[in-house]
Symmetry: C2
Subunit: 381 residues, 2 copies
């Protein structure tokens, strides 16, 4: 129940452990094709250039940045958490002329401030985080995409935590480069980074005057391996791709709408429970991610002790704060397979115990009762 990796279904672990075949084996090529088709469904896109980068989510971030950016290109990066900050760092290393737009951790950006910055900077690329894993804040990006496009730029979006857990419309919102990770709401082990590039982004890549700084992440070559050429680039992580293939099948069997509803329902119940235990969210109502609940650590509570007790006594991992939120928040994940009624109730029951042990005054059973009440209300609706 941390910020990912989330729990993995037995069927996905079984697929992961299937015998390893060659990276040009006809069977594996079929796995790749089907994975691309399923990724397009989950991303809600028709983008031909949709595939899994052979690294974790941060490799997906780097892949998006280094393919779109050439040295000297202007880029705006919106930073309201650790992952926005990381994107700015990646962009500077890629030689971008970076303008950072900042918001305190836990807040989000308004279209107006983005429009003002875009007008001033006229960036080739604007990078923004749709779901800040470090703060639990949800940033709408549809309107921002319009603003960026009207100024002739491209929008690059971090959807590591949102993909598969809440609505994300790559084509509908006209996003140009999007990356995610496998270990959040897709419920697959970490190791791959799903990415998708719009035709507009592909055109920008095709027009580059310099080679992509990273050989490993160069989409002009990677796409030849995933495409019809099947030109050998690097040896794909075969078994990780088996796992992603099976995880995507599970996502689509459940159905995106049903999956989003499940994530939302469990989020609401957890929230009701946490609030009944006297805890506050670090992000304003209406801007909270359903799959990542960042709550303020009650005054007088020992951060490390509570997390240690949850792990050792109850087998529950929750995340600590990152960056400026270190020591100030806990991050409770309800992602993919982890997003269940069972986990919500267990977490509230265990947290009540830990808080009591820390001398925090809580009404016994209040968290669990409030969550159960929320579930009953949801069932009636």
């Amino acid at each position: 129940m941390g910020p990912g990796p989330s729990d993995i279904a037995p069927r996905v672990l079984a697929a992961l452990a299937s015998p390893t075949v060659g990276h040009l084996d006809p069977y594996f090529l079929k796995v790749m094709d089907e994975t691309q088709q399923m990724l397009r469904q989950v991303f809600c896109t028709k983008n031909p250039l949709t595939l899994a980068v052979s690294g974790t989510g941060s490799a997906g971030m780097e892949a998006c940045v280094v393919n779109l950016i050439e040295p000297g290109d202007r880029m705006i990066v919106c930073v309201n958490g650790v992952f926005g900050g990381r994107m700015a760092d990646v962009a500077r290393r890629a030689g971008a002329d970076v303008t950072v737009l900042e918001r305190p951790y836990g807040e989000i950006f308004s279209s107006e401030e983005i429009a003002a910055a875009v007008k001033k900077v006229q960036p080739k690329v604007l990078g923004i985080v749709n779901a800040e894993t470090s703060t639990g804040a949800y940033q709408p990006v549809e309107e921002i995409a319009k603003i960026v496009h009207d100024a002739g730029g491209l929008i690059l979006v971090d959807c590591v935590t949102s993909l598969g857990g809440m609505p994300l419309e790559v084509d509908g919102w006209q996003l140009d480069a999007v990356y995610s990770g496998t270990q959040k709401c897709l419920a697959c082990p970490p190791g791959l980074a799903p990415v998708t590039f719009s035709p507009r982004a592909v055109e920008a890549i095709d027009k580059r005057k310099t080679k992509v700084a990273s050989w490993y992440l160069d989409m002009t070559m990677v796409k030849s391996y995933w495409g019809q050429d099947r030109a050998y680039h690097h040896t794909a992580p075969i078994n990780m791709n088996y796992a992603l293939h099976e995880a995507l099948r599970a996502v689509l069997e459940e159905g995106l709408e049903a999956r989003f509803a499940r994530h939302l329902k469990n989020h609401k119940a957890l929230k009701a429970g946490l609030q009944a235990l006297g805890m506050e969210y670090a992000v304003a109502e209406g801007q909270q991610l359903p799959m990542l609940n960042a709550v303020k650590i009650p005054a007088g509570c020992d951060d490390a002790k509570v997390r240690g007790q949850l792990l050792n006594q109850f087998g529950i991992e929750i995340g600590g704060g990152l960056g400026s939120m270190k020591g100030k928040v806990w991050r409770i994940g309800l992602m993919g397979e982890t997003s269940t009624e069972r986990n919500v109730l267990l977490c509230l029951a265990a947290l009540e115990r830990c808080l009591s042990d820390q001398g925090i005054k809580v009404t016994g059973g209040a968290g669990v009762a409030a969550a159960n009440e929320a579930y009953r209300a949801a069932a009636k609706a």
Copy 2:
């Protein structure tokens, strides 16, 4: 039986499918520590900076290059196959002033020509491939390391195919930056790249004036996660690390000496058999890799048809040629779990059938008989 991925033992697949824990879970930190200790044993080094990069072998190559190279640094890259060529490409993208030293595919470099080039160029780094997976050639590097050090440079070595299958002495030979892959002689699925950096290499990294071009592969940050700080960098591919941990345990249980002897014995038997079938190696005697046997395709033989028949009729994958060897050689791997008497005999028996079907004249049973004879001789010795 291709150039990797090689076969995976059931115990490694079982480890791969173990439940995913968090990347800062005490259990996973223990797995990381033990993996580092075992990697040091397999690399024959005491280098503290020894770990598994979260990508495949080519990510390991890029990690070594981008950490050692700053824009404008002089680098010599020795190219006698696809992977040397790849290293030159990676180095140029990293901004190196690259001098390429060339040899035809299948040949190796003499110390004299390296010494002359080093004297002339005075490189910060010399990159060379110890085991060229594209040609099957073995390049000794110990004397070259001395030459490079005497000129004040660093030696960067590709050991993707050699590690775990034949002697490799990182400390004994004084190699500065070495990368490998998991899917060759370590008999683990592809997805991680073991790397090791000498104190001399670490000093060079510490003295950098510019940030490493790749955020994902920046060892100054990655080592804080693998070291005592445990500072979060990226989410490690948890399950892949379980698999590598178990694969390394298997390597050390067998023992490096015994493992090298097994690879050599099976190589000799396969070679005896292939030669009895009238086939020739693409690399000169004495320079052949035991784990990767590149043989010339007999005149009049259809490359793709034979490989297709081997795969579809007998379940055997062998590799085609790469680069200038495309359509001219087959690459038969005997790596890790794949290096068995069973596979050698089966491959020879099936190949005899395929060659006959292509109208090539072969003496029936000659390949298998010669291999069996080689095994008997080895058993007596």
